[in-house]
C-alpha cells in the first residue's frame, strides 16, 4: 500500500533545491521569483508530507524506514543515510512544512522592502532551514538527526545575522551558534558513548530490548544526561537559554518559525524520540523536571518586565519550552508533543502578529510607544487576542488542553510541582495580557508620524494570521482529556506506537476524574483573575519614564545572567588565553627553543676557535686525544 521510498527523499530535497537555486541565482532573480521559489518548494514538501502522513496514520502501522545510501561505514559503526517516517516524525513533518509554508508566505510581504539580492538570500536561508529541520525529524539514527541538529543551528545563525551590517546582530548570531555548540558537544559525546557500547546509532537498534539490556545504569544515565545537555542548548533551557532572547535580532518571521515554532522544539523531539532511554534513567527524568520547571518560572518572571514586544514573546517561548520539559520529566511524552504542536500554532501566530504590529509601527518594537492599535489593525488585533487566550490556557482554545495535560502530569509527580507550574502559568497569563493591553488597548503613545502611517497589513500577511488563529482555537481538540470526553484523545492514540514501550515501563499515578475537575477549576479561575488584573493595570498604561528599582530592576535586567556568564566563563577564558599567548608561548616555550638555538650557536662559535689553522695545535690535540684513547683502552 505504501510507496514511500519513492517520494520521501523529495520532502527535504525540495527545500534544498530551493536553497541552491536561490543561493546561486540571487543576483538574477526578481523578488517575485525568489518568493515563488521559496514558497513553492516548501508547499511541495507540505503536500508530500501530507501524503506520507496519510499512509502511516493507519492503525497499527509501525512506521517505515527508508535507506537512501551508506553515509559512513567505519570499523566501529555503520551509519546509513536513512529516514524514518512514523507517527512522531509524521506529525513534525506537518508542523514544519505547514507552518513553514505560512511563514514563507508571510515573509514574501514582510521583507518586501529588502533589496532583491538580500531578499533572495533571505529565502535561501529560510529554505535551508526547512531542509535541515526536516532532516532532523526524518533521520533514522542519531547522526542524521545531528546533521539536521547542527544545520538548524547554522540557519539560525545565518538568519539572526541576516542584517550583517549591524554589529550587535552579529554578536547575537554568534552567541546563538556558540551556545548551541556547547549543547552539541553533549549530544556528540552521547553518540560516541552509544557507538562505544553498542556499535550502532540507529533508533531501531539502539532502542531494541537486546541493546538496552547491554547498557548499564551508568551508561544509560550518562548518555541521557549528555543528550539532555544537547537539548538544553537547542531548546533554550537553563543553563543555555540566554541566546534565544538575543536571537530576536533576526527578522520577525524568522523568530516565528525558528525561534518559536520549530527549531527550539528539536530538543523535545529528540527526548521524545529516545523516550525509552529516558524512561530507563529516572535520575535524568528528575533533572529534566527540575530544569524545565526552573526555566518555566525564571523566564516567566523576566517576561513580566520586558518592554520590547519580541523580547516578551521570546521569554514566553523559553518559559513554554520549560513546560514541555516538565512534561517530559514527568514521563508525559504525549503531553509534551501535544504542547509542541499547540505552541507552534499560537506562538507562530503571536510572533507574526507582533511582526504585523512592528510593520505598521515602522519598525518600532517598544510597547511603551504603542497602545490603542485595536482600531487600526483589526485583523491583527483579533487574531492576536486569540493567540493570547490560547497561550493563557482559556478553554476551549488549544493551549488549555495541552497545558492542562502538563499540569495534570505535574500533579501526578508531586503536588508541589503542580503548584510551581501553576504559578508559571499564572504569570504567563499576566505578561501576555500586559503585552496585549499595552499594544492594543488604551491611547496611542507613538509619534504623530507613526500614527499617520498605521495600517493593516496586506493579505499575504493576514492570511497566515487567520489560518494560525483557527488552528490555535481548534488545534487542541485532538487531545480532549478522558475526564471530559471518553476516548477522545486522538493524539495519544496516534502516538501510542512511539511511546508504548515507555508507557509499559512506567506506572503513572492515575488521578481521579474528580481531582482533575478540581485542578482544572482552580487553574482556570486563577488564570482568569491574573488575566483581568493585567488588563486592568495596563489598559491605561502611561509611560512615566521611571527607572525600575529593586526587584523589578532585577527582572528588567534578566537576573543579570548574561553578566554573570560573562564574568565567570567568557572573561576568564580569554584572560587565560592571553596569559598563555603572552607568557607560556612567547616567554617560555619559544624562549626555550630559541635558547637551545643560541646555546648551539654559542657552542659552535667556541668550537670554531679550535680550528685555528695552525698545524702545531692540531698535532697537540691529536696527541692528547690518542693518549686519552690509550688510557681508556687500558683501564676499561
Amino acid at each position: 500500500m505504501s510507496n514511500m521510498e519513492k517520494f520521501v527523499w523529495l520532502i527535504p530535497s525540495l527545500p534544498l533545491l530551493g536553497f541552491l537555486i536561490l543561493g546561486l541565482g540571487r543576483n538574477y532573480l526578481s523578488k517575485g521569483m525568489a518568493a515563488a521559489i521559496g514558497c513553492i518548494s516548501v508547499l511541495g514538501s507540505f503536500v508530500l508530507s501530507l501524503v506520507a502522513f496519510m499512509q502511516i496514520s493507519g492503525a497499527g502501522n509501525p512506521g517505515k524506514k527508508i535507506h537512501l545510501f551508506d553515509f559512513i561505514n567505519s570499523a566501529a559503526v555503520k551509519i546509513g543515510f536513512d529516514f524514518t517516517v512514523d507517527h512522531l516524525s509524521g506529525l513534525f513533518l506537518l508542523i514544519i512544512t505547514g507552518i513553514g509554508f505560512l511563514i514563507h508566505l508571510y515573509s514574501s510581504s514582510y521583507m518586501k522592502e529588502e533589496p532583491s539580492v538580500h531578499y533572495a538570500r533571505y529565502f535561501a536561508f529560510l529554505n535551508l532551514f526547512v531542509f535541515s529541520m526536516l532532516l532532523l525529524v526524518l533521520g533514522s539514527n542519531f547522526v542524521i538527526m545531528f546533521i539536521g541538529w547542527e544545520g538548524v543551528g547554522l540557519c539560525s545563525y545565518l538568519l539572526i545575522g541576516y542584517w550583517f551590517r549591524n554589529a550587535d546582530y552579529g554578536k547575537a548570531a554568534q552567541k546563538a551558534f556558540v551556545m548551541n555548540r556547547i549543547g552539541d558537544l553533549g549530544f556528540l559525546l552521547a553518540v560516541f558513548w552509544l557507538i562505544a557500547r553498542l556499535g550502532s546509532v540507529s533508533y531501531d537498534e539502539v532502542f531494541s530490548a537486546a541493546a538496552l539490556a547491554r547498557l548499564s545504569t551508568v551508561d544509560i544515565t550518562g548518555i541521557t544526561l549528555l543528550l539532555l545537555v544537547g537539548a538544553t542548548g537547542k531548546s533554550a533551557q537553563i543553563p543555555l537559554y540566554t541566546w534565544l532572547p538575543d536571537a530576536m535580532a533576526g527578522p520577525t518571521p524568522v523568530s516565528a518559525l525558528i525561534h518559536a515554532a520549530t527549531m527550539v522544539t528539536a530538543g523535545i523531539y529528540m527526548i521524545a524520540r529516545s523516550n525509552i532511554l529516558f524512561t530507563m534513567a529516572p535520575i535524568t527524568l528528575n533533572v529534566i523536571t527540575v530544569v524545565g520547571l526552573a526555566t518555566a518560572i525564571l523566564a516567566a518572571t523576566i517576561a513580566l518586565r520586558q518592554n520590547d514586544i519580541k523580547k516578551v514573546l521570546a521569554y514566553s517561548t523559553v518559559s513554554q519550552l520549560g513546560f514541555m520539559f516538565l512534561a517530559l520529566g514527568a514521563g508525559a511524552y504525549t503531553a509534551a508533543i501535544f504542547h509542541v504542536m499547540t505552541h507552534a500554532f499560537f506562538k507562530a501566530l503571536l510572533f507574526l502578529g507582533a511582526g504585523s504590529v512592528i510593520h505598521a509601527m515602522g519598525g518600532e518594537q517598544d510597547m511603551r510607544q504603542m497602545g490603542g492599535l485595536k482600531k487600526s489593525l483589526p485583523i491583527t488585533h483579533f487574531t492576536f487576542l486569540i493567540g493570547c487566550l490560547a497561550i493563557a490556557g482559556i478553554p476551549p482554545l488549544s493551549g488549555f488542553f495541552s497545558k492542562d495535560e502538563i499540569l495534570a502530569a505535574a500533579y501526578s509527580k508531586h503536588v508541589s510541582i503542580w503548584i510551581l507550574a501553576l504559578m508559571a502559568a499564572l504569570m504567563t497569563a499576566f505578561y501576555m495580557f500586559r503585552l496585549y493591553a499595552m499594544t492594543f488597548r488604551g491611547q496611542f503613545r507613538g509619534t504623530e508620524d507613526q500614527k499617520h502611517h498605521l495600517h493593516e497589513s496586506p493579505l499575504a500577511m493576514t492570511l497566515p494570521l487567520i489560518i494560525l488563529a483557527i488552528l490555535s482555537v481548534a488545534g487542541g481538540w485532538v487531545g480532549i482529556p478522558e475526564f471530559i470526553m471518553k476516548d477522545a484523545h486522538c493524539l495519544a492514540d496516534f502516538l501510542d506506537p512511539v511511546f508504548r514501550s515507555s508507557l509499559a515501563l512506567m506506572h503513572p499515578h492515575s488521578i481521579s476524574h474528580a481531582t482533575e475537575y478540581l485542578l482544572v477549576g482552580i487553574s482556570v479561575s486563577l488564570v482568569l483573575v491574573s488575566l483581568f488584573l493585567a488588563l486592568k493595570k495596563f489598559s491605561s498604561y502611561k509611560d512615566e519614564g521611571m527607572p525600575a528599582r529593586g526587584f523589578s530592576a532585577l527582572l528588567e535586567n534578566k537576573w543579570y545572567v548574561d553578566e554573570v556568564y560573562d564574568k565567570i566563563i567568557s572573561k576568564p577564558l580569554f584572560r587565560l588565553s592571553y596569559l598563555m599567548n603572552n607568557i607560556l608561548e612567547i616567554r617560555i616555550i619559544d624562549a626555550l627553543v630559541n635558547g637551545v638555538g643560541r646555546l648551539v650557536h654559542y657552542g659552535s662559535r667556541q668550537l670554531r676557535l679550535l680550528q685555528s689553522g695552525q698545524v702545531g695545535a692540531y698535532v697537540l690535540l691529536m696527541t692528547i686525544g690518542l693518549l686519552l684513547l690509550f688510557i681508556l683502552k687500558y683501564y676499561f
Binding site: 543561493g23 545510501f69 551508506d70 553515509f71 559512513i72 561505514n73 567505519s74 570499523a75 566501529a76 559503526v77 539580492v117 547522526v143 545531528f146 546533521i147 547542527e150 544545520g151 547554522l154 545563525y157 545575522g161 550583517f164 551590517r165 554589529a167 552579529g170 554578536k171 548570531a173 554568534q174 551558534f177 556558540v178 555548540r181 556547547i182 552539541d184 558537544l185 556528540l188 559525546l189 553518540v191 560516541f192 558513548w193 557507538i195 562505544a196 577564558l573 580569554f574 587565560l576 588565553s577 592571553y578 598563555m580 599567548n581 608561548e585 616555550i589 619559544d590 627553543v593 630559541n594 638555538g597
Partner: protein, 496 residues
C-alpha cells in the same frame, strides 16, 4: 615487470620535469602555465591510480632501480593505500594553490614556480619511498626548496623566521638520520638480483625485520618521534609554525600547511609505529596526551590572535593534533577518520588560505582588528569563506564532519575524559572562526575595505573547486572514507 612506467614514478618525475621546465621558462606566463598543466597532469595520474589498487596491478604500483648498491640501497618506489591517500591530497592541493594565486606577482617567477614544483617532487617522493635512505633523501628534498621560497619571497621578517624553521626541522631530520643509520647497521644483508650481496640494507622490509631490542626501540622511537613531532607539529614543538605561516608567501604557506605537515603524520604511519612496536605502547600514551593538550592549547591561542594568518596556524595545530592522537591510539575507527581527515584538512586549510590571501592582497592588511565589512564589498568571497569556515569547524554535511566524528569516537574508546576534553575544541573553534567572520566580514566597511572588489575568475574557479570537494565529500563521505579504510587496514596490519 611488464609495465613501461609505474604510477609512483609518474608522480615523482612529472613534478621534477615541471620544475626543470619552469627554471628554463622564458616568461612568467609560461612558468605559470607549465606548473599548472603539470600539476593537473599529476592529479590525473593520481586519480587514475585509484583504479589500480588490486594485487593484480602490483607491477603498476611498485618499481625499484639500483642505486648506491654497495650500501644495500635501491631506488624503491611504491604506492600502497596510505601512499595513495597522501599522493592524492598532494595532487589535489597543487592545482588549487597555483590556480588561486594567479593574481599574485612574484619576483623571478620561473624560479619561484620551479622551486614549488621541486617541492612537490620531494613530497611525492616521501610518500612513495619504500627505502629508508630514499625516504630521507626526499624528506630533505622537500624541505630545501621551501626554505628558499620562504627566505627569498617571504614577508619582512622572513630571514630570522625561516632560519628558525629550517634549523628546527633540520634538527629533527638529523635525529631521524641518526636513527636510520643505527637501524641500518642492525639489518640483515640482502642479495640483489644480479648476485651482488651486501651486509646491510636500507629497504623498508629489512628495516621492519631489523630485530631491535626494546631499549633500542625506545630511544630510536624517540628520535623518529622528535623529527615527526616537529614537522606536524605536536605541542610543544610547534613554535616555528605560526611565524613561518605568517611570513611565507601565501602559495608556500598553502603547501606547507596543506601538504608538508602531513609528512609528519605520514612518518608516524609508515615508519614510527611499524618500526618500533615494542616502544610504541609507552610512547603512544605520552604522544596522545601531548596531542590533546596541544589541541586545547592551540585552540585557546587561536582565540586571541589578531593576525589572521596566525589564527589559521593555531587552528591547524589543533586539527593536526587530533589526527596525531588518533594515529597513536591505533583505534581502527579513529585511524580511519584520521586518514580521511588528512585529505579534508588539506582542502579546507588551502581554502582558508585562499580567502585570507585574497583579503590581504586586496587590502594590504592581515589583522582582524583593522578589517570590517568585507561582506558588503565581496559577497561571493564571503559566501565561500563561510562555507570553508564551517568545514573547518566540521559542521555536518561538510567534508570534515565524518572524519572528525570517527576520530572523536575513536578517542572516546581510548579514554572518555580525554575525548570530552578534546571535544571542547569544537566549541572554541566555533568561537574563533565566527569571531573572525563577524569582525572581518560583517559590520560596516571602513577605510581599509572601502575600495575592495569581489574575486576574480581564477579565484572563483579555485574556490568553487574547494567548495565542491567540501560539499560532495560532505554529503557522501564514503568517496574518501573508502580509501581511508584501506589505508587504516594497511597501517594497522604492519604492526608486526
Amino acid at each position: 615487470m611488464g609495465t613501461f612506467i609505474t604510477f609512483p614514478e609518474l608522480l615523482v618525475w612529472l613534478p621534477l620535469a615541471a620544475a626543470l621546465l619552469c627554471f628554463f621558462a622564458g616568461s612568467e606566463k609560461a612558468a605559470r602555465w607549465i606548473a599548472l598543466a603539470f600539476s593537473l597532469l599529476v592529479l590525473a595520474v593520481s586519480v587514475a591510480s585509484l583504479n589500480y589498487t588490486s594485487e593484480a596491478f602490483k607491477s603498476y604500483n611498485y618499481v625499484s632501480y639500483y642505486w648506491l648498491k654497495y650500501l644495500g640501497n635501491s631506488f624503491f618506489l611504491g604506492l600502497d593505500a596510505t601512499g595513495r591517500m597522501m599522493t592524492l591530497l598532494t595532487a589535489v592541493s597543487m592545482p588549487l594553490v597555483l590556480l588561486s594565486t594567479f593574481r599574485y606577482s612574484f619576483r623571478n617567477p620561473p624560479v619561484f614556480f620551479g622551486l614549488l614544483m621541486l617541492a612537490q617532487c620531494g613530497i611525492m617522493g616521501v610518500f612513495c619511498s619504500m627505502d629508508a635512505l630514499l625516504f630521507y633523501f626526499f624528506w630533505e628534498l622537500a624541505l630545501i626548496p621551501v626554505y628558499f621560497l620562504c627566505s627569498f619571497w617571504g614577508g619582512p621578517r622572513r630571514i630570522p623566521v625561516t632560519f628558525k624553521f629550517f634549523i628546527y626541522t633540520f634538527l629533527g631530520s638529523l635525529m631521524m638520520l641518526a636513527g636510520i643509520i643505527y637501524i641500518y647497521f642492525h639489518t640483515n644483508g640482502r642479495v640483489f638480483e644480479d648476485g651482488t650481496s651486501v651486509a646491510h640494507s636500507f629497504s623498508y622490509t629489512s628495516f621492519l625485520a631489523a630485530g631491535l631490542s626494546a631499549t633500542e626501540q625506545g630511544w630510536l622511537a624517540l628520535l623518529f618521534f622528535l623529527a615527526f613531532a616537529i614537522k606536524m607539529p605536536v605541542f610543544p614543538f610547534h613554535t616555528w609554525q605560526p611565524d613561518t605561516y605568517d611570513q611565507s608567501p601565501t602559495p608556500v604557506t598553502m603547501v606547507l600547511s596543506g601538504v608538508m605537515v602531513k609528512m609528519g603524520l605520514f612518518g608516524v604511519i609508515r615508519w614510527l609505529v611499524p618500526l618500533f612496536p615494542l616502544a610504541i605502547e609507552k610512547l603512544a600514551d605520552v604522544a596522545i596526551l601531548l596531542s590533546v593538550a596541544g589541541i586545547l592549547y592551540a585552540s585557546c591561542l587561536a582565540l586571541v590572535q589578531d593576525n589572521i594568518r596566525k589564527m589559521v596556524a593555531y587552528s591547524s595545530i589543533a586539527h593536526i593534533g587530533l589526527m596525531a592522537a588518533l594515529l597513536f591510539s591505533r583505534n581502527e575507527t579513529g585511524v580511519q577518520g584520521a586518514m580521511m581527515q588528512m585529505f579534508n584538512h588539506a582542502v579546507n586549510i588551502i581554502g582558508l588560505w585562499i580567502v585570507v590571501g585574497i583579503v590581504e592582497q586586496k587590502t594590504g592588511v592581515k589583522h582582524i582588528s583593522q578589517l570590517s565589512g568585507v561582506a558588503n564589498k565581496a559577497p561571493w568571497l564571503t559566501a565561500f569563506l563561510v562555507l570553508i569556515a564551517l568545514a573547518n569547524i566540521a559542521l555536518p554535511l561538510t567534508n570534515a564532519f565524518a572524519g572528525e566524528m570517527l576520530m572523536f569516537s575513536g578517542l572516546f574508546v581510548y579514554n572518555k575524559w580525554l575525548a570530552a576534553a578534546a571535544g571542547l575544541s569544537i566549541i572554541l573553534a566555533a568561537v574563533y572562526m565566527l569571531n573572525m567572520i563577524r569582525k572581518v566580514f560583517f559590520g560596516n566597511v571602513n577605510t581599509v575595505t572601502e575600495q575592495m572588489s569581489d574575486i576574480s575568475k581564477a579565484e572563483w574557479l579555485a574556490l568553487s573547486a574547494v567548495a565542491a570537494i567540501i560539499l560532495v565529500t560532505g554529503f557522501y563521505p564514503e568517496a574518501i572514507l573508502g580509501l581511508g579504510r584501506q589505508a587504516a587496514t594497511v597501517f594497522l596490519q604492519t604492526k608486526v
